[in-house]
């Protein structure tokens, strides 16, 4: 069966544009309703990436910026699968991540938090999912950090995750949180998500089986992108 259109995005699980407790959203949120488009060739296609675009070390944040030794902090593996809503693997898709160091400081010229930069930690990585949709990163567990929203807001430890899929309409940026972090319950950015289960789905679980004994703790984080129908009774997208 030839794949047909993508499922309509379930907007009820995504944060709306305007979430006043996350103050920056107020001036940056469109007020008019979006115009809903049926899929065309412009939305079902999207960029593709290959092993020539990246290097094998790009998914190892412990080594990809090391200058004088390993970075400070809790060594972790983050692994999982990129799947679609039909539970099919999304193979060969680019997964990019970025994060603060173990002290909660970003290597960014606009970050002025007093926690120190780690000379051996860049804080970004990228990889391609394999033919089964599997991906893995090795990194340092990021620290929590304060941010200016109200005066005493702290972000839970998190890793930013960017994924492509095979069509531009699957493009997604999200954040990975860690099981058991008490700051998750207090974060206005997390609370922008109206659906509790959707927050749970962004919370990576300790995966002892994938842990490397005496070396690194592992967390499992599956990423789900929009799925696509395989319908028999459908006009083709180009309709000819």
């Amino acid at each position: 069966m030839k794949p047909a259109e993508y499922h309509q995005r379930d907007r009820s699980l995504h944060p709306p544009a305007l979430t006043p407790k996350y103050k920056t959203s107020v001036a940056r949120s469109p007020r008019w309703p979006m115009i809903s488009l049926e899929n065309t060739i412009s939305e079902i296609t999207g960029p593709r990436f290959g092993h020539a675009d990246i290097d094998p070390i790009d998914n190892d944040l412990i080594r990809n910026y090391a200058k004088t030794g390993d970075p400070v902090g809790e060594r972790i593996i983050v692994h999982g699968r990129v799947l679609d809503e039909n539970a099919r693997p999304v193979p060969n898709t680019l997964v990019e991540i970025w994060q603060a160091n173990s002290g909660g400081r970003y290597r960014h010229k606009k970050d002025t938090y007093l926690a120190p930069i780690d000379p051996n930690f860049g804080g970004c990585g990228r990889t391609l999912s394999d033919e089964n949709g599997q991906y893995a990163f090795r990194t340092i567990k990021p620290g929590a950090y304060p941010w200016r929203n109200r005066v005493n807001n702290w972000r839970p430890a998190h890793i930013h995750v960017s994924v492509f899929g095979s069509g531009f309409l699957q493009r997604l940026i999200t954040q990975l949180y860690f099981e058991g972090d008490p700051l998750i319950a207090h974060c206005p950015i997390v609370h922008a998500i109206p659906d509790r289960d959707a927050v749970q789905q962004l919370t990576a679980k300790l995966d002892l089986n994938a842990t490397i004994p005496l070396d690194s703790i592992a967390y499992k984080f599956d990423i789900v992108l929009r799925g696509r129908r395989s319908t028999l009774f459908e006009n083709r997208l180009e309709g000819n």
């Binding site: 469109p30 065309t40 990246i54 990809n64 910026y65 039909n86 970004c124 960017s162 999200t174």
Partner: protein, 207 residues
């Protein structure tokens, strides 16, 4: 209990935050880590058609430029083909049709060089006017915003475009059409300011 459907649910979006550059444009964050940052060369050296430059601002509801945006573009080549197995046909060697730019930390200006896309097929035998598909993320944007840029020198094609014509408010259609600026070094320059909110809010699409 009726039968279970067993679909997975899409992962919820979260803002790209103020430090999106670390992950997606580390050079702009202030460090050098990758052999090559992705999305710098949209069309490649072999692309046929008219070379163009596209520039603009992203403006918030207070009228201020947003200075921490990351913007991605996805476009067809001059023949109206996307670089994808379902993209309608072959593309030139090195044509990816995808680019990634950030807004300047001081001015909020963004810009990229590419080729002008051709018309692409629409649904049910229609033809879509040449356009760039844009995706915008930033701090304060909870879920990436999709819009399109159309060309001011394609008035007839724009008038027949099935997507532009979906917009009931004719007045708002103009928000999707770039302005022609002065050529620079013989290259046409298009200006496309994106307004997140307020008067002349840009049309965004739920795709």
């Amino acid at each position: 209990m009726p039968q279970e459907l067993h679909y997975l649910r899409e992962s919820a979006s979260q803002t790209a935050g103020p430090y999106v550059h670390i992950g997606l444009a580390p050079g702009a964050a202030g460090f050098d880590i990758y052999r090559e940052e992705l999305g710098r060369d949209i069309a490649g050296p072999n692309a046929k058609g008219q070379r163009i430059r596209v520039e603009g601002l992203v403006i918030d509801g207070t009228g201020s430029p947003v200075k921490d945006v990351l913007l991605e573009v996805w476009q067809a080549n001059a023949n109206g083909h996307y670089a994808h197995p379902e993209g309608g046909g072959p593309v030139e060697d090195g044509f990816r049709g995808w680019g990634r730019v950030i807004t300047d930390f001081d001015s909020g200006e963004w810009g990229f060089d590419t080729v002008k896309p051709g018309p692409v097929p629409g649904r049910n035998g229609s033809v879509q006017a040449p356009h760039l598909n844009l995706w915008i993320v930033a701090r304060g944007i909870n879920i990436g915003l999709n819009t399109r840029m159309y060309f001011p020198d394609e008035a007839d094609a724009n008038a027949a475009d099935p997507v532009i014509n979906l917009i009931e408010w004719e007045k708002r259609r103009a928000t999707l059409i770039a302005r022609q600026s002065e050529d620079r070094d013989g290259v046409p320059v298009y200006r496309f300011d994106i307004r997140l909110q307020g008067d002349d809010e840009t049309v965004f699409f739920d795709i």
